[in-house]
Amino acid sequence: MPETLPAGIAAASPAKLPRRTRALNGRGSPWVVVLAIGVSLLSLLPIAFVIGVSWYTGWATIEAMIFRPRVAELLINTLLLVLITLPICIVLGVTLAWLTERTDLPGRRMWSVLAVAPLAVPAFVHSYAWVSLVPSINGLPAGVLVSVIAYFPFLYLPIAATLRRLDPAIEDVAESLGLKPWAVFFRVVLPQLRLAICGGALLVGLHLLAEYGLYAMIRFDTFTTAIFDQFKSTFNGPAANMLASVLALCCLAMLTAESSARGHARYARVGSGSAREQRTVRLTSGIATLGLCLQILTCLLALGVPMLTLGRWLIAGGADVWQGEELLPALLQTLSFGVAGALLTSLAAIPIAWLSIRAPGKLQRLLEGCNYITSSLPGIVVALALVTVTIHFARPIYQTTLTVLLAYLLMFLPRALVSLRAGFAQAPVELENIAQSLGRSPLRALWLITLRLAAPGAAAGAALVFLAITNELTATLLLAPNGTRTLATGFWAMTSEIDYAAAAPYALLMVVLSLPLTAILYQQSRRSAGR
C-alpha cells in the first residue's frame, strides 16, 4: 500500500494564498508554531539517524561496507528494477487512462474502477499470489511483472484525473493550427500530463525502493531486502545502517530527479471559466478490440491472479484456517494500531496544516519540506532509526506501541496533512469572524465553523492513514512490541513457513480492509477533476 503521497503534497501546495490571510492570522500563534516545529523536528529523526550513524561509523567502515561488490549488485538490481518498471507503468497508465477517459471504449466506467482496484491488494499479497501460482517465478523479470501489476494504478489515477480536466479548447486550438490528432496527443496532451506522470512515477519509484515483502517472496534482492537480511543477522549492525544510508540517498536522488523533471509544467488550466466537455474519440473496431484486450489482460493479471490464488487457498484451507486462535487477535491488533495511529497522525498534522492555510510563509514551507523528505524514506530506514534511537536514548518507549505509532506517524503524516489542509481551506477565517460578530465566543466559533468544516477532510485523512497502517509490513516487523502481531506480520510469518493456506485468511482480511482505501482514492481523484 502507498506509504507516501508526495505527489499529493506538491499538487495541493497552498503557496498562493492571499497575503491578507497571513496578516489576519500570522500573529499570536506561538503554540501552533512550536507544535509544528516539534512535529517537523521529529520527522527529521530518520535523516538525523542516517547522518549520525554514518558519522559515528567512521570512513574506514563506510568504505568497507559501501564500496563492495554486493552493494554494486544491489544497486544494479534496484536501478534495473526502477528503469524497467517505471516506463512500463507509465505507458500502461497513459494508455489505460486514455482509453477510459477519452474514447468510447465499451464499459469504460467499469474499466476505470477496475484499473484502480489492484491497489486493494497489498503488494506482498500480489507476490504471494504469483509465487503460489508459478512457484519458479523469481528474479528481475518477476520483480518487474509483480511491481507493474501492484503499482501501475498510482500512475493511472493522476493521469486519468488530469486527462479528465485538461482544457479541451487547448486541443481544439492545436488542431486549428494544423496538427493531426496524433500530433495533438504527443505535442499538446502528453506534455500537459507531465506533472501527473512525474508525481505518479515518483510514488511508484519510492515504493520500488521501499517494498520488502514483494521482493523477498520472489527472491529478488534490492536494498530493502538486503537491509532486512542484515538486520536478521546483526540487528542494527553497521552493514545494515550503511545500506540504509545508501537507500536513503537513492530516495533523495529520486525526489530531486522528479522535481527537476517537473520543470515548468502546471496542473491547472490557465484562465477561468468552465471547461467544456472533452471530445470522445471514436475507436475503430480494431483499436477497440485491442484496447479491450489490454484492459482484460491487465485485469486478469492484477485482479484475476490474486483472486484465483486466494480463492484456491481459502478452499484448500477450509474452515480450519479461520479457527486459528491468532487470527482474531491479529485483526484486533491491526485495528487498534490503525485507530491509534490515525488519531496520532491526524493530531500531529493539525499544527502544520493550520499554519499552511492560515499563516503560509517560509517557515511553513520549510516544515512541510521536512515531512516531505521523511515520507519518501522507506519503512525499513524509519524503523531502523527508531530501533537504534529508542534503544540508546529513549529506552522507556523502546519496544512499545508508541514507537510503532511514531513510525506510522513519520511515514504517513503527508496523507493526513493533505486531506486536513484541504479541510482547513474549506473554512476561511472570515467565516469564523462572522460567527464571532454574530455573538459566538472564539472557542465556539472555532468549534462551530472551522472544525466542523474541516472535519470531513480530517476524517478522510485519518481513514487513509488507518488503511495504510493495516497493510504496513516492514516497519511493523521491526518495531512491534513483544507478543503483538498484526494481519500483515501474521501473514508474513505464515508465508515464511510456506503455509500458504493458513496465510490466506490474513490476506483476505487485508484486502477487505483495503477496499475502502481504494474507494476513497478513486473518489478523490474523480472529485479533484471537478466532475
Partner: protein
C-alpha cells in the same frame, strides 16, 4: 464576394436540436458577430466552422472550397482557420514565444522575427517572449492567443467569446484593438458572444441566434432599430413595447399619436421604441406630448434612468410604466409631473 457560405446547416445532439437549418453568408474581410443567449447554438455553429463538430445536414464553403457537406469533410487541421477560445487556451507547457510560433512552418531567425512582429502587432512587449502563460494577465493571454492564431495566416478567424473573461474597462480596449488589427490584416472574422453591446460595436454583420435557429441577420444598426420580433428587440437592448392601433402611418397608443415606419399597414399591432427615443421635458402644457409622473429615479452618473407612469388624461393614471433615459444633470425627482415626446418613428412588429 463571400468568404464563407453556410447552407442549410443542421445538427442534433440526441433529441435536442442544436442547429436548425442555418443559412448565413460572411463577406470577405468583414467582421460577423453571432450573438445569442447561452444554449442558442452559436458556439456549436462556430465549432462546426472550425471543424471540431460535424453537421447532420447542410454544407460549408470557404473561398469556394467545400469544407463539409453530406459526402466529405475537411478535418480541422487542414482548414487553416484561426481559432481563439474564451480564455485563450494557451499551451501551459510552452513559453509565450513557443505558443505564438506553434503554427509557424519557418525555423531559425525567420521564425524569431515573425514571432517578434506578431507580438508587436498585438501590442505585446518583446520581453514577454520568455514568459509562461500563467505569468500573464487575462488580456495578455488573449493577445498571445490572437497572435498565435494570426501566425498561420488564417483564411478565416473564429473568436469564441474572446473578451468575456476580461475586466469591463479592458474589454472595450481589447475589442477596438482586435477590430483594428483584423481589419488591417484583412482577415475575415466571425465572433461569437452573448454580450449585445459587444456584438453591436464589433460587427459589420450581426446574426442573432435563438434555440438553434438564426432568427435575423444584417447590419447591426438595422437589427437594433428594426428587429423582427420583440424577443430580438429586447435581446439587443432595452425596449418600450406597447400595443397600438396603426392607421395611415401613425400609431395610436397610450403615448398618444406616434409616427411609425410602415406604409400601408393598418390595424392592431405592437410598436417598439428604444428608451433613447423618448424625450422628457418638464413643460407639462405642451399639447404635442404625453403627460406622465416620475415614480422612480435611478441615478447612474452620466445617465439617469427614470420610471414614469403615463397619465391617461385629467391626471388619471393609465397604469402603464415606461423607462426613460435622461441626462443625470437635470433629472427630475420622483413625483414630478413631466411630459414625454417621441424622437423619430416607432417600429411596428408584424402581427403573427
Amino acid at each position: 464576394m463571400n468568404a464563407l457560405d453556410i447552407i442549410n446547416l443542421s445538427k442534433s445532439f440526441g433529441a435536442q436540436t442544436a442547429l436548425d437549418t442555418i443559412n448565413l453568408s460572411v463577406p470577405t474581410g468583414s467582421r460577423t458577430v453571432i450573438v445569442g443567449p447561452s444554449g442558442s447554438g452559436k458556439t456549436t455553429l462556430l465549432r462546426m466552422i472550425a471543424g471540431f463538430e460535424f453537421p447532420d445536414a447542410g454544407s460549408l464553403t470557404l473561398n469556394g472550397q467545400t469544407l463539409v457537406d453530406s459526402s466529405h469533410a475537411v478535418p480541422a487541421y487542414q482548414r487553416q482557420i484561426g481559432y481563439v477560445p474564451q480564455d485563450g487556451a494557451l499551451f501551459p507547457h510552452m513559453s509565450v514565444a513557443d505558443n505564438i510560433g506553434f503554427g509557424l512552418a519557418v525555423t531559425g531567425s525567420a521564425r524569431t522575427e515573425r514571432i517578434q512582429s506578431l507580438m508587436d502587432s498585438v501590442a505585446l512587449n518583446a520581453n514577454m517572449a520568455g514568459r509562461w502563460p500563467h505569468e500573464l494577465s487575462g488580456g495578455q493571454q488573449q493577445r498571445v492567443a490572437l497572435a498565435r492564431a494570426l501566425a498561420q495566416q488564417p483564411r478565416l478567424m473564429l473568436l469564441d467569446e474572446p473578451f468575456s473573461a476580461l475586466d469591463t474597462g479592458l474589454r472595450a480596449d481589447m475589442r477596438k484593438m482586435v477590430a483594428r488589427l483584423l481589419e488591417s490584416a484583412g482577415v475575415t472574422t466571425i465572433l461569437v458572444t452573448h454580450d449585445q453591446s459587444e456584438a453591436l460595436s464589433f460587427a459589420d454583420q450581426l446574426a442573432v441566434m435563438r434555440e438553434g435557429r438564426l432568427v435575423q441577420s444584417g447590419h447591426p444598426m438595422d437589427l437594433y432599430r428594426y428587429p423582427d420580433d420583440e424577443q430580438t428587440a429586447r435581446f439587443l437592448g432595452e425596449a418600450v413595447v406597447m400595443p397600438a392601433r396603426i392607421e395611415a402611418g401613425w400609431a395610436h397608443c397610450d403615448l398618444g399619436r406616434v409616427a411609425v415606419n410602415t406604409n400601408g399597414f393598418a390595424g392592431p399591432a405592437h410598436i417598439m421604441l428604444r428608451p433613447e427615443q423618448l424625450l422628457l421635458s418638464d413643460h407639462p402644457e405642451n399639447p404635442q406630448g404625453c403627460n406622465a409622473v416620475v415614480t422612480e429615479r435611478d441615478f447612474g452618473g452620466n445617465t439617469c434612468t427614470l420610471t414614469v407612469e403615463l397619465l391617461a388624461g385629467a391626471g388619471e393614471s393609465s397604469g402603464r410604466s415606461l423607462l426613460v433615459r435622461s441626462s443625470g444633470m437635470h433629472a427630475p425627482p420622483a413625483g414630478s409631473a413631466v411630459q414625454l415626446s417621441i424622437l423619430g418613428a416607432a417600429h411596428v412588429f408584424e402581427v403573427s
